[in-house]
Symmetry: C2
Subunit: 336 residues, 2 copies
């Protein structure tokens, strides 16, 4: 098994990517191919101790920056770490690709290079979020910002397979993100999606609201990529804001300051549970290959966990199972 890693993608690349890759190679004994500028990567690798046989290097002379327009940059920078990494994946010189770089470019290049799974029209980014009851899978959080209702049905379908096989939780419940619970609520787009989901084989529980995202009301939340992206980013920043508010109050109050001295263990545990880097990247479902997308702000822990997630996806053969589910099970096929 070999995981292809974009060494140049992310706010703190290549430093944290190389560091995370070294940690993953050491801990999981998985082969990693780092794609990027050889001089920089070799210099960074020299700073670490790691099992040499597990890490190799493939040069890429260009880097797609975080702020570049996705489609244009993929077209122009054929020798970028993202494009080369995905070419290698297509040529089966690796089993999965991970990047914490420009998300739009990764989605675009993955779609163009790998193509879609049979029966799936658009890729969707699925992410696990912590909830009061465990975790939920939200799809799509930004791959497809102007989707059709059918795409959301397909997201529900892929997430169902993912939940059943990777997370080993059969018959996951599926909710549609809307502005109210009633079937009559929302835009025409959401109403049509509701109709498709309720007529599918999925365990569809109906509309869920923004307030249900972290309550654990359902296992899978389906939404369009624009709304999902905003909801996810609001959530990430709000956890940090709440934390900052809370710290300010603690520091502004003498009793609070005494109390906070007793709290370091709780705070650390709390931070761990709400820290995105523990959850190891998002999964790009729908493309014909295993692609894991990291947060631009990924630290080395996030990179290491994303590589672990890629390893699990390969082992559980997610895409094979999505194809099997579509082709073997006539009920599932019918939904399309």
């Amino acid at each position: 098994m070999k995981i292809i890693v974009d060494a140049m993608g992310g706010d703190k690349a290549p430093e944290v990517i190389v560091c995370g890759a070294v940690k993953a190679a050491t801990e999981y004994r998985v082969n990693i191919e780092l794609i990027g500028e050889p001089g920089q990567i070799e210099a960074l690798l020299k700073k670490h101790k790691y099992p040499k046989d597990y890490i190799s290097l493939h040069p890429a002379s260009e880097v797609i920056q975080m702020s570049e327009p996705a489609a244009l940059s993929v077209r122009k920078k054929k020798d970028s770490s993202i494009c080369i990494g995905l070419d290698l994946l297509k040529e089966r010189q690796g089993d999965a690709f991970f990047s914490a770089g420009n998300t739009g470019a990764v989605v675009c290049a993955s779609t163009l290079t790998l193509g879609m799974l049979l029966g799936i029209e658009r890729p969707g980014i699925a992410i696990l979020i912590p909830t009061l009851k465990g975790f939920s899978l939200v799809i799509d959080v930004g791959a497809n910002i102007d989707p059709k209702p059918l795409h959301l049905l397909q997201y529900g379908f892929m997430a169902d397979v993912y939940f059943c096989h990777i997370l080993n939780r059969p018959h996951p419940s599926v909710g549609l993100l809307n502005i109210g619970e009633e079937e009559s609520k929302g835009t025409d787009f959401v109403k049509e999606t509701y109709h498709l989901l309720s007529n599918s084989h999925l365990n569809f529980i109906g509309n869920v609201e923004g307030k249900d995202l972290f309550s654990g009301k359902c296992d899978i939340i389906v939404c369009d990529g624009f709304v999902g992206n905003v909801a996810l980013k609001v959530s990430e920043s709000l956890v940090e804001t709440v934390y900052t508010f809370f710290e300010r109050h603690l520091k502004s109050n003498p009793l609070g300051m005494i109390g906070s001295a007793f709290l370091s263990a709780s705070l650390a545990q709390f931070k761990k549970q709400t820290d995105y880097s523990e959850y190891g990247g998002a999964v790009l479902l729908g493309v014909n290959g295993v692609v894991i997308i990291g947060h631009g702000r990924s630290n080395e822990m996030a990179v290491k966990n994303a590589i672990r997630r890629a390893k699990e996806e390969i082992e559980y053969r997610v895409n094979d199972r999505i194809i099997e589910a579509i082709n073997v099970n006539p009920v599932r096929k019918q939904a399309f």
Copy 2:
């Protein structure tokens, strides 16, 4: 000055509405007309001590339930507390209307009964949210879920007037909620809105992301009602979820339990700062009258604060100022 209050709207109506109205009448010495079922309201009023001259009662035989379809319920239930309250406002038998009932019905009935301000095509719900730098005004959070770009420009315009005059903060900065900061990001709808905002007289700073909602990056955040509603509800629930997570960790750890004993003052202060009920309802901007919308879960404190907000809006003549700004200032008129 008289504020018309829908006594029957909200999850805990009429109890908390009557209680909040009594508190507001006592504290602010403002006249309040309660609309609803007289028997129930009189029975509740008898339980309280309050300045009798300040609270009157107007009967309404019907109630629009929280889950009813907005347009249909407004058409069918002409004798509902929402419809009668807005009729009274239109007839100038009061100066503002407050309801914590069915938001869609309040928006629909307000638009039909009061009409729009000259130059404004659609109403928008504006809400103040706490940020790391103070607060921001987000518009729209659910009045108009399928808007045109021009509507968002008009929201920016109204929010600008609101910020200048009510909040006494001239030249507020305006951001457009999007999935990335670059001008090229987002759907066609968002790109067109960006173009309109950047060519207006507003202090437009460009796109902001979900992560900027609580950072205080700009004073006003403009978005479509669907996205705004989801973002707001995600935020509300996430604050509660984070709080629950944190409490769990405190209780699961002996040092945490000792620490938490010192923290009651900080926790109370923190809760107050992040508690929606302190902010006193949302403002329905664009209709020809002062309308304040409360959270369905409003408690008596939220009701009292919403009535205070209505009083301030009347005193500061928000709608007159929006009309003045459109008609007097040629630069502002030009934007339309």
